[in-house]
């Protein structure tokens, strides 16, 4: 009993430390976003905004509630937000789906060159962005894929698929073969077994792969910088730095935009959380 309580206390303390580590700098961004620009640089520093202002949030969201300001930034921001959601969402759904199937092939289906292909794909994790930038740009231009959702999503898939596949492979490897054999003996086909029995068991891995892809794509900067030049596809990560001009860096606005940009991934993770944490426990326990 005592040890249980101690364990609970230790756990709470660790959770508290973790929260301070994760949220401390986030708090600082939030505080900056609520300060008037003239209060941002003061010495000694303001730990709390001396005077709270919502002007930066109004600039970014005002148009939505019928209060647009003269800069019209809200419209660009909204478009970039939608672009970010489409690009990250599209990349996540496709990458996870492809990884689920391809990793299964890499674990359970014997075909010539299987391991070589898998290792080569995983090795591309190590390709730094700048290495392929110029040849990739040439190809994208010749395919007419620059500034299109499909083009950017394809690049994202090629960038995040290796990690997702590797993760899925390690999950499939840890699944007991007996379940699949039983299904097979019952007369179920490979494809049926994979989609109906194996993938549901691998949900936590799948969700982890989805979270990794979504957050990776959400924060992507160098790819859209080059391949998403106009408002039609430009995501938040490329739009937000534009609030820093040569003559004036709008820290308040940049931080407010950063705070807003954190909300969608947080919601996605909270939504996916139940699948991440309950999926396999239920299956394996039976």
């Amino acid at each position: 009993m005592v040890s249980f309580i101690l364990r609970g206390t230790g756990q709470r303390l660790a959770a508290l430390l973790l929260l301070i580590w994760s949220l401390g700098p986030v708090y600082w961004a939030l505080a900056t976003s609520l300060m008037k620009p003239r209060d941002i640089a003061t010495s000694p520093i303001n730990f709390f905004p001396p005077e709270i202002t919502f002007e930066h949030y109004r600039k970014l969201l005002g148009g939505l509630i019928g209060l647009p300001d003269e800069t019209g930034i809200w419209y660009d921001f909204l478009r970039a937000l939608i672009n970010s959601l489409v690009l990250a969402g599209g990349a996540t759904v496709l990458t996870t789906a492809i990884a689920a199937l391809a990793a299964y092939a890499a674990v359970r289906l014997r075909f010539p060159g299987r391991n070589l292909v898998f290792y080569m794909i995983v090795a591309t994790l190590a390709v730094p962005g700048y290495t392929v930038l110029i040849p990739l740009y040439r190809m994208m231009v010749s395919l007419g894929l620059v500034d299109t959702y499909s083009g950017i999503i394809l690049i994202y898939i090629s960038a995040y698929l290796p990690l997702a596949m590797w993760l899925m492979r390690s999950v499939y490897e840890s699944l007991p073969l007996s379940i699949e054999e039983a299904a097979y003996l019952d007369g179920a086909g490979r494809l049926y077994t994979m989609i109906r029995i194996v993938i549901p068991l691998a949900t936590p891995g799948l969700i982890a792969a989805a979270i990794l892809t979504f957050l990776g794509a959400w924060g992507q900067f160098s790819v859209p910088l080059v391949f998403a030049p106009t408002a039609a596809t430009k995501p938040l990560t490329v739009l937000i730095p534009e609030f820093a001009t040569k003559n004036y860096v709008d820290y308040g606005l940049i931080n407010a935009a950063g705070i807003l940009a954190m909300i969608p991934p947080a919601l996605v993770v909270m939504f996916l959380n139940r699948f991440l944490l309950n999926g396999l426990m239920a299956g394996a326990g039976k």
Partner: protein
Amino acid sequence: MSNNEVVMTIMATGDAPRRNWRQLVSSDASLGIALALPVIALMAAFVFVPVLITAWDSFHRVSPMMPGEPFVGFKNYVTMFSDPNVRNAWWNTWFYVVLAVSMQLALGLGTALLLNGMRSGRRWLLAAVILPWALPPVVNAMVWSWIYNPHYGLLNGLLLKFGLIDQARVWMNDQGTALVLVTLVHVWRMMPLNAVILLAALQTIPRELYEAAEVDGASRFRSLRMITLPLISGALGIALTQSTITAFNIFDEAWILAKASAITRPIQGQIYMTAFQDLKFSYGMAMSITVMLVSIVVSAFYIRRIYRETRFD
């Protein structure tokens, strides 16, 4: 797109198996190939071919300001070894890799274990943990450069308030401190990735195993060592590799915190300056190919070790 395509290809090939061999193997193989082909095509078009072109360029002198693109053999690679800037950037990079990987692994594992063992409030804590990762990189770097600002920053502000320092310190001037501070920004943003990978793996360990260990009187540390770590070794390998590769690619953090300063400049910063600022394109690409190979070798090294160590336990 690919989903439908994949399914349709599978159906097409699946209907015509070579029945003269064992049916299972044959249909498995064609299904496997059908599933793998679109992936191979995609990776070839978007990664393999561009990497090959870059590798090819690295054996030529591609410099837009000079006419022609003559073949130069290993010249770019040889020059690299005697270039003091490159050597300096490599030292900084190794520092980042060692520190970032160990911190990310320790913190990521701790976080995953904590989340895994929690009974309530877990989804809130998880959402809070991933927030740093959701902050756009440029905002992230700006927030931190203000935190480290000598006069207006949170770090000196807190240290002064609690009397730990008596005057504002300029942290980025001291190489050791500057390297640690750059690493910290990177670790803060990337640690959640490791936590998620490891948490997913922890979730696959049946609770019965721990109960059995508890009955045997094993300590918590011992069950971590004997049960948990071996069972999540695959995920540990992935997390280690991922951390290593992202640490070899540290760039934005150093760039925004200390600009082009040589005391923090990582190899990616050197590549950027060489290829994009000085327009010595193929020289930069030779460095880039080298970073890629080094990070593959380092990752392969400890993936092998992990597999060997844990398989025997």
